[in-house]
């Protein structure tokens, strides 16, 4: 299925696009997942092929990377992500992420919570320190541009993508936080405003190998002109929602796959 942006140009030239469509990015749906359609659309807009994955599947199938999207899997019952972590497909994803092949895995929001509950990423998320659900366009600094999902960014680059969560306060003990900082595994930090009380303004982290990345804000909601955050371009051109800073997550992993550095 080809899907063109409703506003703006189709990304990529024809020859590059045809190579990228060979890259298959799985998008997992759990009961209560909300953002699987947006994540799949982001994959297609970046030039790749999105593959629907179902939580009860016992095999991962032929995918080159996996996105665990946001939402409220199992209604956030028990703890956010706690029940989804034990879905049959999660066992396959955990094995593939830890294997020599180092399957790239991106967890967004509830997907990040599922990755910490799965112990693919350290720490945990608790309720926002101010106890309210928060939805806003959030500025982040890309601290590490060497992960599978951040190769197309520059280290230190600031990006604006939406944030929307209730249980977004990232916590870990000081020893874990010190190790994350020392190993360059803090991938994103909140800039200007810490929206949930996260330790050391951490918005996203990676595993040691850099193939598994989790973050609270939503790159898949900032991939298409007309539907993204407001930016300087929006103010200058009058085109609303011109922010597409999230697209780089998906082009990063596609370029990595196509480049053979998988």
């Amino acid at each position: 299925m080809t899907e063109l942006p409703l506003i703006g140009e189709a990304p990529g030239d024809a020859s590059g696009a045809s190579r990228l469509t060979g890259a298959r990015i799985g998008v997992v749906t759990f009961p209560g997942t909300l953002d699987d359609r947006d994540a799949a659309r982001a994959v297609r807009l970046a030039g790749g092929t999105a593959v629907e994955l179902w939580h009860a599947d016992t095999e991962l199938g032929d995918v080159d990377a996996v996105v665990i999207p946001g939402g409220f899997s199992y209604g956030d019952y028990l703890r956010a992500g706690a029940i989804a972590r034990f879905a049959p497909l999660m066992s396959r994803i955990i094995d593939a992420a830890n294997s020599d092949a180092k399957l790239p895995v991106l967890g967004i929001c509830n997907g990040f919570q599922i990755l910490t509950e799965s112990h693919l990423l350290p720490g945990s998320m608790i309720k926002n320190d101010h106890l309210k659900f928060m939805c806003r366009d959030q500025v982040l600094r890309v601290e590490n541009s060497n992960t599978a999902w951040t190769l197309d960014y520059e280290a230190g680059q600031e990006i604006t993508i939406p944030l929307k969560n209730q249980d977004g306060q990232y916590i870990a003990d000081d020893k874990t936080l010190d190790a994350l900082e020392a190993e360059g595994r803090v991938v994103f930090r909140y800039v200007g405003f810490n929206p949930n009380g996260s330790r050391r303004d951490i918005a996203g982290i990676s595993n040691a190998a850099g193939n598994v990345v989790g973050l609270m804000p939503h790159p898949e909601h900032a991939v298409e002109v007309g539907f993204g955050p407001e930016t300087v371009v929006s103010r200058e051109t009058g085109i609303a929602g011109s922010g597409t800073d999230g697209l780089g997550f998906f082009t990063s992993v596609l370029n990595k796959i196509v480049g053979g550095a998988k």
Binding site: L78, A82, S124, I126, Q169, G197
Partner: protein
């Protein structure tokens, strides 16, 4: 039917935002004697028949793997309660 009760609390070093909200609400209702509140979870696992040592061990295992997240929570009590 006997039940196994499992109590889970946030770790002492972790700020409990819900408890903080509750302790803020108490004085507004005239309850002024409480300086701190921490909110935990109580699970009741019903067993069909007798609670053997093996079943109790299963409950302890479930408490550590699913019912609590050891990064942020402690299992503070696992006990059998006769109905």
């Amino acid at each position: 039917m006997p039940r196994i009760v499992v109590d889970v609390m946030p770790k002492p070093e972790i700020l409990d935002p819900q408890g903080k909200a509750i302790v803020g609400a108490l004085p507004r209702l005239g309850f002024t004697s409480f300086s701190s509140v921490r909110q935990g979870k109580r699970f009741e696992l019903t067993v069909d028949g007798e609670v053997t040592e093996e079943i109790l061990a299963q409950a302890r295992d479930a408490a550590e793997t699913l019912l609590s997240n050891p990064v942020i929570e402690d299992v503070v009590n696992v006990e059998v309660v006769e109905a």
